[in-house]
Symmetry: C2
DNA sequence: GACGCGACCAAGCGCGCGCTAGGTTGGGTC
DNA sequence: GACCCAACCTAGCGCGCGCTTGGTCGCGTC
């Protein structure tokens, strides 16, 4: 029961091209069918091996998911940190954050899809508690930029900053459900459309009421 | 093998209070854990009966899901149809559609959650092909309103109407993942915040560039 | 040419799943 | 009091799941 001394003794070698290949295949299947509906036999089939052979590379099906989530989250949070730390006009910082978020579409859409599809379910398990930490740090970073813009007056301040963040986050990330690489627009173009709509709104004239109406229906 | 003549012979009576009760319980569990991760034993436990007894009310686990989805979709599409048919200023029609969509949060959040969580996976199966029909009709209705507004000039027309629709649809529906009935804002208030942000934008001044910038980064 | 090792195969175990078939109960009806 | 029927129980079947164990193969090293 004591831990083995040999570094390579475990059934899960930590680096390997083949390993990355299998993980990419698993991401795609998890994204398409959902984690629970995916069988290890399907993953093995896609990789051209038998299901048991997967366990040479990974300790469990859950470990594959864990690695996908960790990889995605660590990378994107790191990006957000850098962008916010660089500072600048809140409008420009927010624009940069939005572009980074959308660029996940081009980079690793399968991992992004798995993240948004499975987040709510997984976050309740101790093993995946780090998902909550990452989500909270992201929320702090983005909300901080929005609030900074409210203070300097470039953003309207009659709407809750956290709600604005949620609207943005959801709109951006869930676009992975309809985005197609072969489609009409690139992630960068979609990001610019979104920024344009977010900042200046859909309406053209001053015909709509500024400020939120709070009366009951 | 010939069809039984008696109307109540089938294992699935079509109306029953108990049936509705069980279906509501199933919706909640499906929403929390995902359809695939939910077992019939869990549903039965929640209802205080044994798993086999579920099959007195429903033909299968899939049939429960089917009924939840159909009930939700039929109702909401019917609403959209009526609102669009009533006509009016595109801004007002769009506002009404958005409020109706958000009001699903208060009405049947579990069914809404199941819908957005399972849609992409289920739509590929013949049994759930009607989901695509409902989604397409909804898209036609909403997009039609947006395009009408573009023609009359109340909406900006430099962004693809279908993309605007997608941004809106996903943002509204996925709010079920963070909306809490006991929270700070009601679905109606959230809807008004969203409409305000959507129509007039987040920026206060004329400092941002109107129109979409298309240069590469 | 013996050895180590990463990659995979062969075979199958045990568990929990969706679902089934027949039986029991208790309130309602005539 | 005989009958009906919705609601639920009892008991368990068969399948496919994640995962395990021991073995095979081929390449690189000395």
């Amino acid at each position: 029961m004591s831990a083995a001394r040999q570094p390579g003794k475990s059934a899960a070698p930590l680096v390997s091209e083949r390993r990355d290949e299998i993980l990419a295949l698993a991401s795609k299947i998890f994204a398409d069918k959902g984690y629970a509906s995916t069988t290890v036999r399907e993953i093995a089939d896609a990789a051209g091996i038998l299901s048991g052979s997967l366990y040479h590379h990974f300790a469990s099906k859950e470990a594959m998911l864990d690695e996908i989530m960790h990889g995605f989250l660590d990378h994107i949070v790191e990006q957000y940190r850098g962008t916010v730390a660089a500072g600048g006009d809140p409008i420009d910082v927010l624009r940069a954050l939005i572009r980074e978020a959308f660029s996940s579409l081009g980079g690793n859409p399968a991992a992004l899809a798995v993240m948004i599809n499975e987040f709510n379910f997984l976050v309740q398990f101790p093993r995946f508690a780090y998902l909550r930490d990452g989500a909270e740090e992201t929320e702090r970073l983005w909300t901080g930029v929005i609030e900074a813009g409210m203070r300097t007056g470039v953003f309207r301040s009659d709407i809750d900053a956290r709600m604005i963040y949620r609207f943005m986050r959801d709109t951006i990330w869930i676009s992975v459900r309809w985005y197609r690489p072969e489609g009409k627009y690139s992630p960068e173009e979609i990001a610019d459309f979104y920024v344009a709509m977010l900042l200046d709104g859909l309406a053209t004239g001053g015909s709509t009421d500024q400020g939120v109406r709070r009366e009951q229906e």
